[in-house]
Symmetry: C2
Amino acid sequence: MRPLTDLSRLSLNQATTQNWSLKQAVDGCARAGIPWFGPWRHKVAETGLSAGAQIIRDAGLKVSSLCRGGFFPAATVAERQARIEDNRRAIDEAAELGTDVLVLVCGPAPDRNIQAAREMVRDGIAELLPYAREHGVKLAIEPLHPMFAADRSVIVTLGQALDIAEQFDAQVGVAIDVYHVWWDPEVYPQIERAAGRILGFHVNDWLVPTPDILLGRGMMGDGVIELRRLRAAVEQAGYSGPIEVEIFNQAIWDADGDAVLTQMCERYLEHV
Amino acid sequence: MRPLTDLSRLSLNQATTQNWSLKQAVDGCARAGIPWFGPWRHKVAETGLSAGAQIIRDAGLKVSSLCRGGFFPAATVAERQARIEDNRRAIDEAAELGTDVLVLVCGPAPDRNIQAAREMVRDGIAELLPYAREHGVKLAIEPLHPMFAADRSVIVTLGQALDIAEQFDAQVGVAIDVYHVWWDPEVYPQIERAAGRILGFHVNDWLVPTPDILLGRGMMGDGVIELRRLRAAVEQAGYSGPIEVEIFNQAIWDADGDAVLTQMCERYLEHV
């Protein structure tokens, strides 16, 4: 497990710098020497899609993925159809921004029947797939930590994400975020199983104690996750693409953005 | 999935009434017509073991389990040995209190190596087992929700708990708490697999949003867990023992204890 020796695979996921506009985040990456960028749709919308895409191109950044599509389950057919429509717009946006990866946060159940909601996720992906293929965008199912099972994603393990992805061709894969999977006794065999379908790898850390359910993620090295071992496993499974740093943490959001990016680069080389 | 028609299997896990002493909790059960009681060691210690056991016996309550042993992983051999000694005391206490079930919360890792800590859990149970057998106390591994993987238990799924339990005879089993397992895509096949090893079943609910990582559990019916379906699965797997209500929730702790027990009985019949 050798350290990374340069920043050539490092990507800033925009969630890490929530208080920056898209332009500020892109400029920050350029100053810090970070070659990849992972935008979020709501931040792109603030700037405008075409203008945002132009800003990223002008800075010479590559786009690692777009966050996020998904949220497939809903109580009615009409609502589920509206979600599909929104996902088609997300695919358009990914294509215009110049990435071939749309990250899917699959959504919660509309009621207590989590099993039925899981079937809605599978069905939603099946319905979305032809449009994604036409536009050259791959769908990356991101299993979320089980503590988000009730409000963000009924897909909560890598094995479960792969059970769905494997029902389709390689246009459907997975995004692996260490925060969501590190606890899983099956994580290493499931990463091995994911070979050929890994579309993204996200890093951050699990703090002890966790300060907040949603905004409690840590900077790499400040927590307990075996980051380098997980990176080695993902590489062993054939993934050599960008590594996004995605940290939801109020204190990091409130800090100086350039200082956060400087620390992020140091910790990436030291811990990932 | 028929409702329960009486309170004959209902147990008050003492964590639900944190502000009550053992005597107050026992008296509360007697007033509410709750026939079972699940004490915690630190509350028993406040009263004294012999006195506490006598209070429970005098009230005619049956003891469903003792919470808790476990916390096996530690950085040094000496520390791990001290944990085993403490678990032996927990077995003594369970026997004196008149229950044959000691619930094990297995503990966190002492460092980033979660896999090594999981082996320490297995080794700790192996070392404890002869003493447990001599004293007629079964060891119930309780898988905790993965959000507690870093600070309370490296054992986070029912499947993983069974992987350990099955290395031993039926003196080692599992305690299934709906809060910890409801999200798991494998929960129903794993409950089926657990047949013959289910030593406890705990109920409460998962609130949306979750107000707190540790103290955010809800009263049955206030959240999203399919309680009755899970009870049916546990019964299908052969479990017909007591059903403990275990709710860590600051608002419930601060409420009037008798009112909590009254609501608990109603919700048990309505939702479990």
